[in-house]
Each structure stands twice: as C-alpha cells, then as structure tokens.
C-alpha cells in the first residue's frame, strides 16, 4: 500500500547504453503516489526505455531504479517477475493480449499467476471488466474485439493485482481518435481514483487530459518538466 505523496518511483543517474547507442543518459526523477506523469518526446528519444526500466523489463547500464522501496538492479529474474506481478501494471500500444484466451481469462490470468483461485480471479476480472464497461464482451476472444475493447481488456489486466504504478506505453497510439478519447477518459478516471500513472506518449492531448506533470526527454536526457492543468 502507498500513501498519498510518498515517493513510489525514484530514478537516480540512470544510464542505459545499447552498444554505442545511448538510450538514457543521467536521468534522475521521482514520481509520488497518486501522481499522473507523462513522459513526452520524439520517437527514439528513450521514452519506452525509461518505462521498461521502471517496469523491470530491462536493466540499466548504471544508476538505480527504486520502485516502491525496491532497488530493481539487485533483484534476480524471479524476484523481478514477482515485483512486476505485484507492483506494476503494464498497458502496451498494441494491447498484447493472449489470442487463445477469452477477454475474461486474459484479465484473470494476472491474478491466477499469484496463486489466486480460478473462481476468485474470474470474479474480480468480471468486476473490472464491468467497471470498464465491457463485461458483456468477457467471453469473446481478442480477435473479435475492437481496438478500444482490447485496450480496455489490457487495462483491466494491468489493474488486476492492484499495482502501485500503472505504466502505459502509447496507450492510444494504435486507436482511432474516438476510441482514443474513451481510453483517455478511462485513464483519467483511474488517476482520479488515486492510481499512480506513468504515461509514455507523444500525444499532447493525452498528456493534457491525464497527466498532472509532464517530463520532456530528448536524446536520452531529461530536458524539461512542467506541471499540467488537467482539462476535464
């Protein structure tokens, strides 16, 4: 559990190199509980790399990443998996649902991996899908869902284990504008309910709608930071 204002994510002098290519260079920042932060910048600036570091999907070349009090660079692969399971919710641009599982089973999967019983996990998954307005699509498979529906399923899956931070990588990038709006509303609602959010986007409108703070990145370095006035 986190309390409002507590530092949930702390990056200190974070560097990530891929061979000669510098993806992140001396990045330091903090995200507090309940904040909604948008990371913006042009393609290839290092936004997604930053997100991957915080999610524990990739390891830094140097520097430290501390999420919810855990220093990620010291964790084994298994501990990192457990960390992702309990602390992080991920939403991807291209949804990344399992095609062979129904919407309900995709959502329930995250809880079932923790050992939650199938019945309990399905009940909670159905509640989440209901909250996101797609309970009637629970038994359908990703192939027959619209883009917006798929992204809602992905958000429900990300929220399943009540994560400390919800990370979203271009969550509206693969959606048409109308569907994108719906997803923005959804993220805003989550933020207003107290969910800590970190969005990676180059969609100014998404940042304006959902984020309380915007961090600008260019060539792997933090080049600016500004507070946002959220539009309803």
């Amino acid at each position: 559990m986190t309390t409002e204002g507590e530092v949930v994510v702390r990056l200190e002098r974070l560097r990530k190199h891929y061979g000669e290519t510098v993806a992140l260079d001396d990045v330091s920042l903090e995200i507090r509980a309940g904040e909604a932060v948008a990371v913006m910048g042009p393609s290839g600036c290092g936004k997604s790399t930053l997100l991957n570091m915080i999610a524990g999907l990739d390891r830094p070349t140097s520097g430290s990443v501390t999420v919810h009090g855990e220093e990620l660079s010291t964790l084994s692969e298994t501990r990192l998996a457990l960390f992702r399971r309990h602390r992080i919710g991920m939403v991807f641009q291209f949804f990344n649902l399992i095609d062979d599982l129904s919407a309900l089973d995709n959502v329930a999967l995250a809880a079932q991996l923790t050992g939650t019983s199938a019945a309990h996990a399905r009940r909670r998954a159905l509640d989440l899908l209901d909250e996101l307005g797609i309970a009637d699509r629970a038994d359908l498979y990703p192939a027959v869902l619209s883009g917006g529906e798929r992204q809602r399923v992905a958000v429900a899956r990300a929220l399943m284990n009540r994560p400390a931070v919800l990370l979203a990588d271009e969550p509206t990038g693969a959606l048409d504008s109308h569907t994108g709006e719906q997803v923005m509303d959804l993220l805003l609602d989550l933020h207003q309910l107290g969910q800590t959010l970190l969005l990676v986007t180059h969609d100014e409108r998404l940042a304006q709608r959902c984020a309380s703070r915007v961090i600008a990145i260019e060539d792997g370095r933090v080049t600016g930071e500004r507070a946002m006035e959220q539009s309803a």
């Binding site: 991957n52 999610a55 999907l57 990739d58 692969e77 298994t78 998996a81 457990l82 992702r84 399971r85 309990h86 991920m90 991807f92 291209f94 990344n96 649902l97 399992i98 095609d99 062979d100 599982l101 129904s102 089973d105 329930a108 999967l109 995250a110 079932q112 991996l113 923790t114 050992g115 019983s117 199938a118 019945a119 399905r122 498979y141 990703p142 192939a143 798929r150 899956r157 990300a158 284990n161």
Partner: protein, 773 residues
C-alpha cells in the same frame, strides 16, 4: 534461379536454430535408416552375395580313395564338361581329405578331430577361400585354420598343434569358406603324409536352384563311377539354410526397429518442416510483395529446408555407414566374416535420395498453403490477432484447480493440433520402442538363461579322451566321486553319440541322459520329460525339420544295433540335429558306452571354481568347465536393441525439442507478455515442459500397448525363424504393474526433450520479444 538460391541460403542462415535442429534430426534419422537398411540387407541376402564372391561350391563331395582314384575323378569331370550342354560350370579338386586329432593347445582351437584338406592355394574356380589373416600353407608342417574373421582368433597365428600320431603343425593363416569345405587346410604334400581316406571334389553346376537340380547333377556326375565311390555330399542349400537360420532370427526385430526408425524420421521431418513453413509465412509474403512468383516462393522455401536437410542426410549417411559396421559385426558375431557383411550401395543410394525426398514432400504441403496465400495475408500472419484454437480446452483449464502455469501448458498442444499429433506420434513410437526393447531384453534373458541352464547346471565335468589324460576311475567311480563332493546337489551323466535314424539319411546327435536329468532345466513346450527306457525328448526345431510330433516312434541306429523309442516330449531348443534320450535306450544299443561328461548343480553360494579344482585334484582324468552364464546371441540382440532404443529415443526427444523450439518461436510475444505480467522463469519452464509432458503421458498410454503388441509379433517371428514353439514365459514377460511403470517413459522422454528449450524460453528477454513484434 540465383535470386531463389540467395533467398533460400539467407533464410536458412537466419533461422540458424531451426536449420540446426532440422539438420540434426535428419542426421539422427538418417543414421537409423542407414543402419536399419544395412541390417535388413545383412539379415536378408548376405549368403548369396558372399557365395557369388567366393564362387562357392554347390556341392562338396567326398569320394572313397580306396574305390576311386583321382585320375578317374578328373576324367569324369572332363567328360561332363565337354558335353554340348554341360551340367557342370566349374570344378575344383581332387583334394586329399584327412581327419586328424589335435591336442588341447589352450587357445581358440578346441581339441579333438579336425577335418583337413590339402590345397595348394586358397583360390581356384570354386570355393575361393577368404584368407583373412596370415598366409597360405606353403610347405609341410604348416596349417591354415578355418575361423571367422574375428580379431580374437589372431592369437592362433604362430601357435603349433600336435596331431595325434602325426606331424606337429604351425598355424600360418586363418581363413573362412562360405561353403564350409574344411576345418583346416594344409599343402597337398602334407595331407598325403596324413594318409587321407577321402578325396574332396567341389562342383558348381549350371542348374543348382533346388535339391532336385543338385541330386540330378550329382547322379550324372557319378554315373560312371562305382556305386560305393561317393561317400557323402553336402549341398550349399543346407549351408545356406543353416546360415539363414541365424540371420533370420535377427530379421524380425531388425525389421521392427527399422520400420520404427523410418516412421519416427518421417514424423520428425514432417513436424520440423511444417513448423518452419508456418513460422516463415510472413517471410513468404514479403517475397511475394517483392515480385517472386508463387512457384519461386515455393522453390525458395523448399531449398531453404532442403539445405540443412540434405546436409544432415549427408552427414547421417556417413555416420550411419560407420556405425553399421561394428553393429553388424556384433549382431552377426561368428558368422559375419564368413557371409561378408556390409551396407550395400543401394542402401546409401536409397537413403541419399529418399530422405531429401521425404523432406521435400513434407515441406510441399505447408509450402503449397503459402503458395495460395496472397502477399497481404502472408505478411499479416503473426501481427494481427489470430483466431484462438483449442478455446474450449483453454476455457476449461483456466477454471481448473491447477497452478496457472500448468493449466496454460496443458492447453498449449491444442493450439497447434497438427503439430501436437506429429509430436505425439513420435513420442508414441519412442515409448513403444522402449517397451519393445524392455520386452526383448526380458525375453532374451529368459531364453539365454534357459539355453545356458542358468541356475540348473553350474559346471560340466568332461571325461578325458584318449588323446588327453584318461580317468583312472570308472563311470560309477566318477559319479560317486562327484556326488561325494561337498555342496553337490544334482549330477546328470551324459553320453554324446552320433547315431542314425533308420530310414533317414545323415547323422544326428543323441544325448543319452542318466541320473538327475530332470533337474537340468530343459523347458518342455509339449509332452513330458524322460522317465523310462525307449523315450526321447526332441527340440522343436528337430521335430519341425523331420516333420515329427510328440507320440511318434523312431528307430535309433548305432552301428548295426537298432532300438525303438517314442518321442514323449518337445523341448524348447533351437537345435535341429539333436535329441535327448533316456540312458536305458543307450544300453539297448551298446551296453559298453560310457558317459562323456557329467553336468553338476551345486548348492546355492558354492564356489564353482573351488569345486572344479577339487574334482581335478581328485581325478586328473576329468576336465571340469564352468558353465557359461551368457548366451552370445542373446547378448548381441539385447546390445543392438539397446543401441536402437537409444537412437530412436533420442530422435523422439529431438522431436519434442523441435516442437518446443517452434512453439517458443511462435509464442515469443505471448511468452514476453506473460513474463511482463509476472510469470516467473520457473513458471515459464513449467508451462512449456507441461505442454510436452501432457503429450508424453498420452504417448505413454498408447505407446506401451503398441510396444507390447510389437514385442509379441516380433518374438513369435523370431522363435518361428529358429524353429521354436513359443512357450508362454518368453511372450508374457511383463507383470501389469511393470507395464504401468513403463508408461511414464513418455513423460520422461517429453520432459527431457522439452527442458532445454523451455529453459531458454524462460530466459528470453522481454523487451526484445515485444520490440520484435
């Protein structure tokens, strides 16, 4: 075509792991195929080939030198060969033939009578003897001994043998004759010094396919000779039948393993290629969008799989050829060198053409699917969500009370039912092979124990022959001595004597038994054991050879004496030239005959060697020999069975390995997603291994009964080939509990095959996988 070639080579390089797996599986399968074909060939037609190479004798004839001279025999041949349509194709001889008795030299040459023929050289128009070690006898005092080409016998070279009342001979060469014309050869001068009583003539006839042809030819050949001139003659058909009897015992199980090997190879190749084609669909779409015609795409794709396939086939053919030689020598130990074993050119040709053809055929079906796809469809394969498969099963499993990694794994085989079916079939064959091998092992062990009378006879005490130290004790004294030794439980006295069956040509061996004969461990498949005078127990092969059955009466003849006996039992024994007879029957034929050996069973835990030493000390005229506990042919069969099982098991495991590699490759995104939401490396491993273990469990359920059925068919065929009636204890070799224990073999095979790629999937970098997508 250059573009097609470049694309194919680049694609094969890009898919290094798949190409390597394909090459390795094809290589392993090819090794199995080459060895199986080599063994099949060796078991089916080696005699004819060697017989042709050595220009074997259709007839080996023995003439009485006292009745017909060498000149007369030569004249007869000249007359026959000068006719318009000669019946004789080639002749060798006359060669002097003598029987000498050699003393024990303590090496690989048993003491006793030795048939020696005088020949100036090993070549000639008939019976070109294979001189495989040393040289031919060039002067008196030298001898060439007939032995199969086994390194073990080389120790005989340079040894000297003393002929009883004759010369001392140095062994200068080792040779083998497919026609079995002699046990040893000396120079013509030397054989003259041995007072030969027989002249050997070797004939090849223009018509020699049947016994009638040979009989007719021999009648013509001897028509101008005195009636008693021809003492005996040996047909090559009898030798062929005898050689084939050994080989044909191996044929059923070699054929069984060969078929299993071919099946596994086809399944694995089909699985690998179809998986590679499915995984390469997007690549095919890109080629089409670049302007490749559908046929060019198919050609590029077939070339892509053919490159590693052919490389694997080539290496496998070479390795198979190398592996086949020692295996053939092992399987045909003792007869191999005589019948000239080797993998024929046709086997290599069939493999080099057949295996790539199978690869191409297996690739054609999935490639033709890509042929039909439009470029857009093919490119989108993998990026768009595909309709889920095996949904019902997945839904059912997601609600099951199982760890999620296990339930996800159990559902994976249903997502690719075709591939799972091929993998399952490979596992079934792997398990069936294990079950078959375990059954054959038990059968051969049980047979070997029976043949060697394991636990029934521990030592055989031979009575010294005239050329050895003869015992001072008489028969009764020897038996009393043996029975008085500590730890002796049973003693059976045997007399091995050549007799005739009245009304039938040729001699047979009779083993007259006295004492505790019923404890020797003879296994009866019909009738009962010897219990009184005039009784015979005959091996199944003997009864089959002479068309006899239990209850029939025989007239036994020894010299001028005759006596009647009834066949009271059928024994499980492969000898077709031996009967066991009650001792009083021998007394009726010749009351002066004495046992030639005594078979002794000792109490449990007794030291056999100590017993033998004590007997030898008490009576130097006795020659104890510890009974071998090993049946050579059984060892050969169980050894080759083990090798085949290992090979087929490995190939089945590679099939599983390949399936998991393909699944991992195809499910790269799903695995990355699962890891991103918190699936631990161990859970990923468990999921992937479970997916194959489930198939393995099912494979075990089906494979074990299949292996048991194959065992029954193969053992029955093997027993039939050697003329045995199948006793139940050779067929029903398993308890139900043992079969249940065999079933997890499928799970073990699948788990072992899946573990490495599953671990690799668990270590996969999430970011790379998601980025690739």
């Amino acid at each position: 075509m250059r573009a097609v070639w470049r694309v194919a080579v680049a694609a094969a390089r890009r898919r290094r792991l798949q190409s390597t797996v394909l090459a390795v599986v094809v290589m392993c399968s090819t090794v199995a195929i080459v060895v199986a074909l080599g063994l099949l060939e060796a078991a089916s037609a080696p005699f004819d080939r060697t017989f042709a190479e050595q220009r074997g004798a259709h007839v080996v004839a023995a003439f009485d030198r006292a009745v017909v001279s060498d000149d007369r025999l030569v004249q007869t041949v000249e007359k026959q060969t000068s006719e318009d349509e000669p019946a004789v194709e080639a002749v060798a001889g006359p060669f002097g033939q003598a029987v000498i008795t050699v003393a024990d030299i303590g090496q690989a040459l048993p003491p006793g009578p030795l048939t020696v023929v005088g020949r100036a050289d090993p070549g000639g128009p008939v019976d070109r003897v294979d001189l495989w070690a040393g040289r031919w006898a060039g002067k008196p005092g030298e001898i060439v001994v007939s032995r199969p080409a086994e390194p073990f016998f080389r120790e005989l070279l340079g040894a000297t043998v003393q002929a009883e009342g004759g010369p001392r001979l140095t062994i200068v060469g080792l040779a083998s004759s497919v026609s079995r014309t002699a046990e040893a050869w000396v120079t013509p001068d030397q054989v003259q010094a041995m007072s030969p009583k027989i002249t050997q003539m070797l004939y090849r006839f223009t018509e020699a396919d049947t016994d009638d042809d040979l009989q007719k030819a021999m009648t013509g050949m001897t028509s101008g000779l005195p009636g008693s001139a021809l003492l005996d003659w040996q047909s090559y058909l009898v030798v062929k039948q005898d050689v084939a009897r050994t080989a044909s015992a191996y044929l059923p199980f070699l054929t069984g393993f060969g078929i299993l090997g071919l099946l596994v190879a086809v399944l694995i190749v089909g699985n690998v290629v179809s998986g590679a084609v499915v995984a390469g669909q997007r690549h095919i779409g890109m080629l089409k969008s670049l302007g490749f015609t559908p046929n060019q795409v198919v050609a590029a794709y077939l070339t892509m799989v053919l490159l590693p396939g052919f490389a694997g086939c080539l290496v496998g053919t070479v390795l198979g050829g190398l592996a086949a030689q020692p295996l053939l020598r092992l399987v045909f130990q003792g007869v191999g060198s005589t019948i000239g074993l080797g993998v024929g050119v046709w086997a290599y040709a069939v493999t080099l053409l057949g295996v790539p053809a199978v690869v191409v055929l297996a690739a054609l079906i999935p490639a033709s699917r890509a042929h039909r796809l439009s470029a857009a469809q093919a490119i989108s394969a993998g990026s768009a969500p595909r309709p889920g498969r095996g949904r019902r099963v997945q839904r059912l499993l997601s609600g099951a009370r199982l760890p999620r990694s296990v339930s996800l794994g159990l559902g994976l085989p249903f997502a690719r039912p075709g591939r799972s079916a091929l993998t399952l079939a490979a596992v079934i064959i792997g398990v069936a092979t294990v079950a078959l091998a375990s059954g054959l092992f038990r059968t051969m062990t049980a047979y070997g124990d029976t043949a060697q009378r394991v636990g029934h006879v521990h030592t055989v005490i031979h009575v010294g022959r005239p050329d050895q130290t003869e015992p001072k004790l008489d028969d009764a004294g020897i038996e009393a001595l043996l029975r008085s030794q500590p730890g002796v439980r049973y003693v059976t006295a045997d007399a091995w004597i050549d007799i005739h069956l009245a009304g039938r040509p040729g001699r047979i061996m009779a083993q007259f038994l006295r004492g505790d004969a019923e404890t020797r461990g003879d296994v009866l498949v019909a009738g009962r054991y010897l219990s009184g005078p005039g009784e015979v127990v005959a091996p199944s092969a003997f009864l089959r050879r002479f068309g006899l059955e239990v209850g029939d009466r025989l007239t036994l003849a020894l010299g001028e004496a005759h006596t009647s006996a009834t066949i009271v039992g059928e024994a499980m024994d492969t000898s077709n030239n031996l009967i066991m007879v009650s001792w009083p029957t021998l007394t009726a034929l010749d009351p002066d005959k004495r046992p030639t050996q005594y078979e002794v069973r000792l109490a449990q835990g007794m030291d056999v060697e100590k017993f033998n030493a004590a007997v030898k000390t008490a009576e130097p005229g006795l020659y104890p020999a510890t009974k071998s506990q090993i049946d050579e042919s059984g060892v050969a069969i169980t050894t080759s069975t083990s090798i085949f099982t290992l090979l087929l098991g490995m190939v089945a495991m590679l099939g599983v390995f390949n399936t998991v590699v393909l699944s991992t490759h195809e499910r790269r995104r799903d695995l990355a997603v699962l890891k991103s939401i918190g699936m631990t490396p161990r859970q990923v491993t468990v999921m992937m291994v479970t997916s194959m273990a489930a198939l393995g469990a099912f494979g075990g359920l089906l494979g074990v009964p299949m292996g048991v059925a194959a065992h029954r068919v193969i053992v029955l065929a093997m027993l039939d080939a050697v003329g045995l009636t199948a006793p139940a204890f050779l067929l029903d070799v398993w308890q139900v509990a043992e079969l249940i224990v065999l079933m997890p073999a499928g799970v073990a095979m699948a788990t072992l095959g899946a573990f490495v790629p599953a671990r690799s999937a668990a270590r996969m970098t999430i970011v790379d996988a998601l980025h690739t997508e």
